[in-house]
Symmetry: C2
Subunit: 124 residues, 2 copies
């Protein structure tokens, strides 16, 4: 059972902040975002946690990191990979399910939700 695909998927996506980070990377018009930018958007996440999650996501191929070594200090840019982009669809459905069955969240029910960045799965 522990070699079940589904079980293993939870090691990738089942950790705190992970889905929110992916969604944050999806938000807005810029396809790349910097560390402190993400940190600010995520509010009360610690740098340690954000760093840990970004490394996991990069290792699993959902997130790509680009470095601008010419800048001083060095700048890093994070973006969704192709697989990460595709996973956003699932995230939307999870959110859609939550809005339908569990949470009456007005902020999430409008398309410009500043927390989640996507509306119900069917709207987007």
């Amino acid at each position: 059972m522990k070699d079940c695909t589904l079980y293993k998927m939870m090691d990738i996506i089942g950790k705190r902040w992970t889905l929110c980070i992916l969604l944050e990377l999806h938000k807005g018009d810029k396809y790349q975002k910097q560390f402190n930018e993400l940190k600010a958007m995520l509010g009360d996440i610690t740098p340690k946690m954000l760093s840990t999650r970004l490394k996991e996501l990069e290792a699993h191929g959902l997130v790509e990191k680009e470095l601008d070594s010419s800048a001083i200090p060095v700048k890093s840019f994070y973006s969704l990979s192709e697989s990460g982009q595709e996973f956003i669809e699932i995230i939307k459905e999870i959110k859609g399910w939550g809005l339908k069955w569990k949470f009456d969240n007005p902020l999430c029910s409008v398309s410009d939700c500043r927390y989640c960045g996507v509306a119900k799965a069917t709207d987007n």
Copy 2:
């Protein structure tokens, strides 16, 4: 951010075994399953863990429990609720994503996968 629908969803579905339990309830032809039956299917799950997860899922409305008090000893039957049934679709997509991008799991790639009970999302 912590009142984000997505963030809160992880408290419901992001715990170990949760998705596998839901999938187990979905498997097969019987729509109800007993505690020890589930336990056997899930292999190395402890009764404590299964009990905890089932209670959480019941509290969140994804799982329904029925008692046969006339039986001695009393028997309990678990099944997916309507919302739980609907969540199976998302589970299939998570699994489909995993098979496409991460894991080459032959057991999961065939429709009668004895571990997961469903094939790729598009097949089922």
